[in-house]
Amino acid sequence: MTDNGNPYLPHPARILRVREENSQIKSFELAFTDPERHRAFTYRPGQFVMVSVPHGGEAPISISSSPTRPGRLTLSVRKAGRLTAALHRMAEGELVGLRGPYGRPFPVEELRGRDLIFVAGGIGLAPLASVVNLCLDRREEYGQLTVLYGSRSPADIAFRDELEGWRRAGVKCLLTVDQGGEGWTGQVGLVTTLFAQISPDPGRSSALICGPPVMFRFVAAELTRLGLSDQDIVTTLERHMKCGLGVCRHCHLGPKLVCAHGPVFTLAELRGLREAELA
C-alpha cells in the first residue's frame, strides 16, 4: 500500500504556536513536518481536516486560517470531548496527524460582489474567520462585510485579536454576550438582538452562519424576515465523523452526508432534512 493509495493515512504536523482564545478555545498553528507537503497543502475556506491526537483517534476540525495567506494552517478548537481535551493539553513543538482537506467549501467565488453578513456564536467563528480573512485579502472583490458575534459572557469572547484586526480593516464587528458583567457596556442578549443594528440590502446580501442548531434557526428566521432568500443563507454544520470520506455515515442528514455533501450547505439545501434540525 502506497502513501497516495491510502486516504486514511495521517501526515505528521507540528504545533508551532498555541493561542488561548478563551477558557474553552485554543488556536493551534500547525505545519506538516515534511516541508514539501506543507508547501503543497492547499485548501478552501469552509473545508476541514481530520486531526489525529496520539492515542486519541481522529476528529474533524475546520480550518480557520485563510488560503490567501500561504503557509498558514490554523485550527481553532473548543474543548468538547476526549480528543479536543487531549489536544488542549498539547504544547508547541508536539505532533499531531492530519489528513484532508475534506468537504465542500464556502462558495467564495459565487459570493463575489456581494455584501456579506457573518453570524457566529462561540467557536462558530472559526470556519467563518477563514472567509473573512479571504475577503479582506481580496477586498475589492467583495462588498460590505459585517460580523455579528455572540458569546456567553465578556470573558468568553474569543478571537479578540482577529476581531480587532477586522475592525481596523473596516469590517463592521458587532458583539453581544448572553450575560453581561462588570465593565461590560456592550450589547447583552442573543446574537439575533444585533440585527436591530444592521439594515442589509437583501438583493445584494448573503449571510454565512455558524453556531448551535437553535441559534441557526433563529438567525435564519431573522434573515428571512429581512428578505434574504434560502439560497443566500449559508451555514456549515458540525457532526460526529469518523472517515471524512463519505463512507462511515456517522455524519448523515438522512440522505446526505455532512463530510461529502457539506459541511457547507445553503438553507435551501437543508429544508426538508429532518436531521438538519431546522424545526
Binding site: 500500500m1 486516504p7 496520539p54 492515542h55 468538547a80 480528543l83 460526529h240 442528514l253 461529502a260 436531521e275
Partner: protein, 348 residues
C-alpha cells in the same frame, strides 16, 4: 470456450485442494455446536462443509472485518508520529456463496469505491475468487426473489454452481472464472443440453419454494412518494429496537464503521476500524452530548431509509438483498420485513 460445464461432486474437494495452494479458502462449515458459518478452511479433510443450511453470517467479515487494524502508529520523540498499514494477506477463495450474499459483495464494491478506493477492502477483494451456489431450496426467511438478487445469479460470480444431484452445472462468469476453468480443465467436462434443462427446472422449482411474500417494490414506491410516513410508525419501531446492532452486524450490506485508537505502550498503538450501526443511540452523538437524531423515536429510521430509499435514488436499486438474516436475529421484531409490511399497510 463453452461457458456451461459439469463438475462431478466427487471431484469438488480435490479441485478445492488445488485452489488452496494459492488461496485462503472460505466456505460454509458446520462447527461443533451445529452452527453453519463461513469459515476459513485450514484442513479440508477435517472440515464439515455444509451446503445445506444458510450460513448465519455473510461474507462481509472476510472482506470488511468486524475489527481490523488500519495502522500501527509510533511516536518516536523528535522523529515523528508514523502510521504504518499492515501487509495484505493471501488472496481469498469463497466457495458455496449464495446469490444474496454475492449480490451484497457487488454492493460493497460500490460503497468502498467511493471517493478513493478503500485500500483495506480492496486488498482482500482484488484477487478474490467467488464460487457461488445457486439456491435450489430457499430458506425460511429468504426473499431474494423480491429483492431481485436470486435465487440464481446472472452475473457477478466467477463460477456459479447449480446442484444437479451427483454433479454441478458450472457457469463461467468473469475472466477470473474462465482462467480457473482453463487452468484446471481436467476437472470439468462440457455440459449437455439435458444438464442445462435440469438447471432450468431447478430454477423454476426454487422460485416456487419461497415461503415469504415480501412486497419490496411496493414498499419502495410508497417511500418514493413525497408524503412522509406516520411518525407513529417510526416511533413504534424505534421503541421495539433494543439497541443491540444485531441487524447491522448480520446484514451483508451494512457498512457503517467507527475508528478508534488502541494504545499499546506510551509510544505505540493501533488504529482500528470496527463495525458500527446507525441504530445505536450514540451513532450520531457529538462530543459534548448533543445528538441530532432522537434515538427514542428515530433509532431505525436511517437504516431502513438508507437501504430502501436513499440507495435506490443513488444506485438505482435497494441495498437489501433479501437474505432474511435480520428477521432471524432481531428479538424486538424490528427487522426489515416487518418494516416493509408496515409501509405497505400505510394508506396513501
Amino acid at each position: 470456450m463453452n461457458d456451461h460445464l459439469i463438475l462431478k461432486k466427487d471431484h469438488t474437494l480435490s479441485l478445492l485442494r488445488r485452489l488452496m495452494r494459492e488461496h485462503r479458502l472460505v466456505a460454509p462449515l458446520r462447527n461443533r455446536h451445529g452452527d453453519t458459518l463461513f469459515s476459513e478452511v485450514e484442513d479440508l479433510a477435517g472440515a464439515e462443509l455444509d451446503l445445506e443450511h444458510q450460513p448465519q453470517a455473510s461474507l462481509k467479515p472476510f472482506l470488511f472485518p468486524q475489527q481490523e487494524t488500519m495502522f500501527r502508529y509510533r511516536l518516536d520523540g523528535e522523529g515523528g508520529y508514523r502510521f504504518e498499514p499492515p501487509e495484505p494477506g493471501r488472496p481469498l477463495l469463497f466457495f458455496g456463496v449464495r446469490a444474496c450474499d454475492l449480490s451484497a459483495v457487488l454492493y460493497l464494491d460500490v460503497i468502498f469505491s467511493k471517493r478513493g478506493r478503500d485500500p483495506y477492502y480492496f486488498a482482500r477483494r482484488r484477487d478474490s475468487l467467488l464460487i457461488s451456489l445457486a439456491c435450489n431450496q430457499p430458506f425460511a426467511n429468504c426473499f431474494c426473489n423480491s429483492a431481485k438478487t436470486g435465487p440464481f445469479l446472472e452475473y457477478g460470480f466467477d463460477l456459479q454452481l447449480t446442484d444437479l444431484g451427483d454433479r454441478y452445472l458450472v457457469e463461467v462468469g468473469r475472466a477470473r472464472g474462465a482462467e480457473l476453468v482453463g487452468r484446471w480443465r481436467h476437472f470439468f467436462t462440457p455440459a449437455e443440453e439435458a444438464d442445462r434443462k435440469a438447471q432450468y427446472q431447478a430454477l423454476l422449482e426454487s422460485r416456487s419454494h419461497f415461503q415469504r411474500q415480501v412486497h419490496l417494490e411496493q414498499a419502495i414506491r410508497r417511500l418514493q412518494a413525497d408524503e412522509p410516513l406516520p411518525e407513529e410508525l417510526w416511533a413504534g419501531l424505534s421503541r421495539r429496537c433494543q439497541d443491540c446492532g444485531g441487524c447491522a452486524y448480520v446484514c451483508p450490506t451494512c457498512t457503517c464503521f467507527t475508528i478508534t485508537d488502541q494504545q499499546i505502550t506510551a509510544t505505540e498503538g493501533l488504529r482500528q476500524r470496527s463495525w458500527d450501526a446507525c441504530t445505536f443511540g450514540g451513532f450520531t452523538r457529538l462530543a459534548g452530548g448533543h445528538n441530532p437524531v432522537d434515538p427514542g423515536r428515530e433509532a431505525v429510521r436511517q437504516r431502513f431509509l438508507h437501504k430502501l430509499l436513499y440507495d435506490v435514488r443513488e444506485h438505482g436499486r435497494p441495498s437489501c438483498v433479501g437474505c432474511g438474516r435480520c428477521v432471524g436475529i432481531c428479538f424486538g421484531g424490528v427487522d426489515i420485513v416487518r418494516f416493509i409490511d408496515l409501509v405497505c399497510e400505510v394508506r396513501q
